[in-house]
Amino acid sequence: MLALGSSLGTQFLDSFKFMANNTGHLLHDTLSTLALSGAALGVALAVTLPPAVWLGHVHRGSGFAIRIANLGRALPELGLIAIFLALLGLGFLNVMVALVIVGIPPILANTFTAVDGVDPEAVDAARGMGMTERGIVFKVELPLALPLMFAGIRTASLFIIGASPLAAIAGGGGLGEIIVNQASYGFDGVLAAALWIAALALLVQGLLALLQKALTPKGLKVRARATGERAPRIDVGVADAERIAGIEAPAA
């Protein structure tokens, strides 16, 4: 037991030594992980938001949105990367496509549900005041839908960052490169990179939670305080299976 304890300590100590000696390398890899994840999230948002908002606005295609979201849930990240290794080969494109696919389901499901679920009376009132459909979407529906939409974006970022180390096996670079390459970096390096990316994921989620708070319209905050509502957190598919047969999930 004592021996186990001391070797445990040594292993973590060595990994911290590795961090101290390779800070530059780790920072460089951190940036490329963030760049890759950010780009994937950006593409996923660009691809998903317009159709999801539109479908929610016209209250159509709930079956479609939910089915896509469910389909996405069943896709294992590593499996996706493997599929695109076969179809596209090694490289940036493969990793990018896989990460974008990982990010789409939570954004689609939450955005559709959020816009679709905006109080119809608010929309009717806006229409009665003579607002255009475009105005209704941008000035009424989107602000009211924002908290739930943002919860979906947070979930997407969680999945994408979670899957990003796996990208290394397909030549995606980043911190995963160290984790999958024990032969070059030794277990110190693997453990250091693992701890580092765990901290990075927690940090990013913390920052996004703060951003979500800042982005929530004042009116909603006031109402939330009055009614004791809580801001939507990372969506873990609570009752999803019921509501959406399980939109979200893995951190891969």
Binding site: S7, L8, Q11, F12, S62, G63, I66, R73, A74, L75, P76, L78, G79, L80, A82, I83, L85, A86, G89, L90, A109, N110, F112, T113, L158, I161, G162, S164, P165, L166, G176, I179, V180, F187, L191, A193, L195, A198, A201, L202, T227, G228, E229, P232, V236, G237, V238, A239, D240, A241, E242, R243, I244, A245, G246, E248, A249, P250, A251, A252
Partner: protein, 267 residues
């Protein structure tokens, strides 16, 4: 095809395992023959290992999450800490979590199971607690009025009514675990992730990539269907038509107003 291989240079395609298999030698997109002839040696065992990994992880995760949910349900002040801890675990990328556990439990199946259980917890716990909380207060009042003890209310009212949410959690957790278990092959060479790494070792063998990924997806799909069927058997009252496709709970969940639960309970 041979020309391309030659032009591509020898080292690109070291060993695709098919001695007489033309398709495999040329690294065709999907060589059905190679797949069927390696079912017994590669894919069958990997699939069985994968199912065992997932069954163990989800069962243990369910027991822990269920106990935690009952605790949080009875003593709500425990809910926040449990959610925070399980959310933190859920946030850690799987590849990193597996490696962080290696110093503790080594390159063993135990390491993989511990990580998988950790990922289940948040999904199962949140759903079970939500299910218990969503039991209408009037129903509980009626039960109390009929003279049921708190224990009877839990067993006869709350749990049966929470079954749909509990199954929702089980489905999400199972599908997620099936997905994450592939990553476990980094630690122990088991499950459907193993053929994926094997394929990389062979020089990116396409058939093996596609077969392993397709089996993982298929397994998730079948497991989900089985859980839906199981819910129909265990709790026929909870199986509504199209229940899985109606996104009704989302809006309700965020708009939910606090109910005067504690006030009623103290009275």
């Amino acid at each position: 095809m041979n020309l391309i291989v030659a032009a591509g240079g020898g080292p690109v395609i070291p060993n695709f395992g098919g001695s007489a298999d033309k398709c495999a030698q040329n690294n065709g997109l999907f060589c059905w023959h190679w797949f069927t002839s390696h079912w017994g040696s590669i894919f069958g065992p990997a699939l069985v290992q994968h199912i065992v990994l997932v069954l163990i992880a989800v069962s243990i995760g369910f027991v822990i999450a269920f106990a935690a949910a009952l605790l949080a349900y009875r003593m709500p002040r425990w809910e926040a800490p449990i959610v925070i801890v399980s959310s933190l675990l859920y946030t850690i990328p799987s590849l990193a979590l597996f490696q962080i556990l290696v110093p503790f439990t080594g390159l063993t199946r135990l390491t993989v199971e511990i990580a998988l259980v950790m990922y289940c917890l948040l999904l199962l716990f949140s759903n079970i607690v939500t299910g218990l909380r969503e039991v209408p207060e009037e129903v509980r009042d009626a039960a109390r009025g009929m003279g049921l003890t708190p224990r009877q209310i839990l067993l006869r009212i709350d749990l049966p009514l929470a079954v749909p949410a509990i199954f929702a959690g089980l489905r999400v957790a199972t599908v997620t675990t099936i997905s994450l278990a592939t990553v476990g092959a980094f630690v122990t060479n088991q499950g459907l992730g193993a053929p994926i790494f094997d394929a990389i070792g062979r020089g990116n063998f396409k058939t093996e990539f596609l077969a392993a990924a397709a089996l993982a997806i298929l397994l998730a799909w079948v497991a989900d269907l089985l859980l839906v069927a199981l819910q129909g058997v265990v709790a026929p009252w909870a199986s509504r038509r199209r229940s899985s496709l109606v996104p009704r709970g989302v809006v309700r969940a965020i708009r939910r107003r606090p109910r005067p639960i504690s006030a009623v309970r103290e009275a």
